[in-house]
Amino acid sequence: MVIPPLWRKLVRDLRELRGQVITIALVVACGISSYITMQSAYDSLVFSRDRYYEQFRFADAFSTITRAPRPLLQHLQNVPGVIQVDPRIVEQVLVPMPDSPRPASGTIIGRDVTRHADLLNEVYIKTGRDLDPMRTDEVLVLSAFAEAHHLGPGSKLKTVINGTERQLVMAGTALSPEYIMALAPGDLSYDPAQVPVLWMNERALASAFSLDGGFNSAVYRLQEDVSLVRVLAEIDRILEPYGSLGSVAREKQSSHYMLQGELSQLKMMAGFVPYLFLFVAALLVNVVLSRLVQLQRGQIATLKALGYSDRSIGFYYLRMVSIIVLLGAAVGVVLGSWMGRGMTNMYTSQWFRFPQPEYRLRVDAALFSIGISIGSAAFGAWWAVRQVISLPPAEAMRPPAPAIYRRSLLERLALWNLISPVVRMIGREISRKPLRLLLSALGISLATGLLVVARSMWDAMDYLMDVQFHAAMREDLTVAFTEPVDPAAANQLAHLPGVQRAEGLRNVPVRLTLGHNYRDSVLVGYPEGGQLRRLIDVDGHTHSPPTQGLLLSSVFQNVLQVKVGDVVQIKLRQGDFRTVHVPVSGFVEDAFGLSGYMMLPALNRLMRDRGATDTAVLAVDEDQLDEVQARLKELPHVAKVSSPHDFRRQFDEQSAAAMGLFTMIMTVFSSVIAIGVVYNNARVSLSQRTRDLASLRVLGFSKREISTILFGEQAVQVALAIPLGLVIGYYMAVGMMSGVDPEAYRFPIRVSTRTYLYAVLVTVVSAIVSALILRGKIKRLDLIAVLKTRE
């Protein structure tokens, strides 16, 4: 087979340009692999989730009530839009574990083993077997919890059910679409060892809670096209007399919500980070090709003179670019699918449990990213080639007119005369091509910006945790009661040996309504003169809950369209379940969730009772912390004892692992960009100025001095890029944070000095690395050829 001469030329040109081919291909590879990593992890999780939801019939809506009689089911079934209602018994359970100082507080769910053919939220038995319908002491245990404690079928499990200690036997471990990620209410970090979920024979559970003939939870399958708001409102109306805590759609179900949050973050990143790389790749292709095209001016003219059309010459360079991109794409797809698989595995093994997680790399997604890459690179190439093919051959065959330099205004200043000619060379070179300098600086600054973004998420979390666990929660131990208790009970905890101070808090679940908008929320009552809990906003300022009216999370301003002075309707979901109206006295920019804040006496007045406490916060003598915890475990009504310090430590460990990996990947990618830009620019300058530099060598300049000239220009670029990159990084961080659901978290934009320093350091090191790579080329400068050649 005869290889056409243009193809031979292509292969040789590519070989000649291998340094640049490799760096550009690597930038493309970073773009494609980051896209494929995030997109395929997203697709895999969505696919695994959807299949799981469908096969195990995950409910569309959920109701929690105090107790409702079974005949009520018929009414619920008749609500238009409801296809199926399953009544359930869902209760709290305490599981004291020998390997843990505090009992784990979790959920126990009644299971009707006789009818799992169409049961909503069906469980997947992972190990062991299903419950024996004849036995009342068997449980299925959520596999994440079981694995964390090394429990398996046949293990004995001590539990406290409705205040009574019971010894149960594990029939097996299970997964449920309702607990893909089991997060304890109010917890921010995920510790599966602390979140037990058990399934027990429904009849046994009903009798333990005296709920025979009744239910306290209902799950629904709904028609697809139905108005959720209307159906939920109707369901709530029916359940109202039975102590309804409000019904929620799937979107607000905790496991689904967590999964959804992670998915939307992945999707957002997939739609953002990769494009940055592709933009830089296009920029590099442009820089390299415009230089190549300049150097090959004569060749192009010759080809045109020989009768090659503009189109075939244009296609020649397009082919060249496509080959570079495809090289990068091959690396990117392989790397991306490997990292995507790893990321999916990390999600499904640590956080989101699916019966059969499956990695999916969509061919169309891969093709899309390759197409975008080729498109953006081709655009960069077109820009460069256009200038040359538009020239008539005769003109293109002549060398370009000698570069014209002028003395700028700046040079007329006296200071200029103090500058050495070498520095003037650098200065004039820069001022002659300011656009190229700016574009290159922009490319590098994107790398710097990426580094800032990568670490700023960490900074934000860190800051938030500091505010929350050092400034806001100043207690040593947090005690959650199984149900609201007399405030005196909380105060009595102060008398335990080792406890220095005890304060009681009250949380009342409510629904806030203004006009057409409503949200489920919690009213938090702060004790008067309390010292252990403070209300702190994301900027670290302390706020005092009002004695009159209601202080709301500022997100409410958007979701309820509420202003100071508006009177909101509050549906209480505790006590007498009244509906009351309270004026809004202000807003606080708190970090999590949707809450209302009041002083405790005001909240008690609202509740019209003598007061109640569901949470006690304790200041404890450090030496006696363990004894106090042990004692608290023994007390009735204590559901959970936790320590903000432990929590903080655990959070740090978890996020350090995840963020460390993420930061490392971003660091590698950013370095690739920075090296790609600096190397390519320096390489371009080197070949454009080989003659000048070699002349200087002949005149007696040392290699070091020559390098100074060449890298001086790059140093200016990097110096320009760094501050720009820090600013870009900050605003990219702002952009990323705005993708977080504000009803869940409000991330403050905090970029630490360490993050900025880190970004600067990596950028500078990358620039130095590319300089080192090029040093070899300078060493091999051909001095003699210079004497003979003409430009």
Binding site: A403, R406, M425, D692, E705, I784, L787
Partner: protein, 219 residues
């Protein structure tokens, strides 16, 4: 395709004397450029020895050769090789910056008669003017050896003569040993000594009885 060893110079031996004006004549491929490169410290012979005073250049390292060029050698190229982004004065200053005992850049330009053009960029100068700037750049360091590779090759007769006049004057006033390589035979008449090269061998090495002034040369 196999590699063929090409010998540019074979058994060449000659001495360049202090203050001497030497012209190397030869057709292209005769080895005169190779000789200039070796004398100028740009190249090292594969065998044989080269000395600058007591310094053996044929065994010098790359850094030592750089030092040699920097202190002792002035180069003048056929295509001037000025830095386009620097003015005439700055092109000269580029070299005076790194030389140990240079003259003032302005004085160097005075010597070639270009002081009034010192703030022009190369693109604003004619070929002859550019070559004179290159000469100023070469002499500003007060070199011991001034090497000129076809200094008039790219110039017309009139400008060429002007450049040669400058070289002649510099040689007389500064006393730098000057080597001019050219294939333009009449130039040989302005030299103290003429060496003919052909096929890498010195075919003749003769002293002129008298140096002809450049303006009296004809070609």
């Amino acid at each position: 395709m196999g590699q063929v060893e090409v010998q540019a110079l074979r058994g060449v031996s000659f001495q360049l004397h202090r203050g001497e004006f030497l012209v190397l004549l030869g057709a292209s491929g005769s080895g005169k450029s190779t000789m200039l490169n070796i004398v100028g410290g740009l190249d090292i012979p594969t065998s044989g020895r080269v000395f600058f005073e007591d310094w053996e250049l044929s065994r010098a390292s790359d850094d030592e050769l750089t030092e040699y060029r920097r202190r002792h050698v002035g180069f003048i190229f056929q295509f001037y090789n000025l830095i386009p982004s620097l003015t005439a004065l700055e092109n000269v200053a580029l070299v005076t910056d790194i030389a140990p005992e240079p003259m003032a850049p302005k004085d160097a330009l005075d010597l070639v008669g270009l002081s009034e053009r010192s703030h022009h960029f190369p693109s604003q100068l004619s070929g002859g003017e550019q070559q004179r700037v290159a000469i100023a750049r070469a002499i500003a360091k007060r070199p011991n050896v001034l090497l000129c590779d076809e200094p008039t090759g790219a110039l017309d007769y009139k400008t060429g003569v002007q450049v040669l006049e400058v070289l002649d004057r510099i040689n007389r006033e500064l006393g730098a040993s000057t080597v001019v390589i050219t294939h333009n035979a009449p130039v040989a008449h302005m030299a103290d000594r003429v060496i003919h090269l052909a096929d890498g061998v010195i075919t003749s090495d003769e002293a002129n009885r008298a140096r002809v002034l450049p303006q009296d040369l004809k070609w």
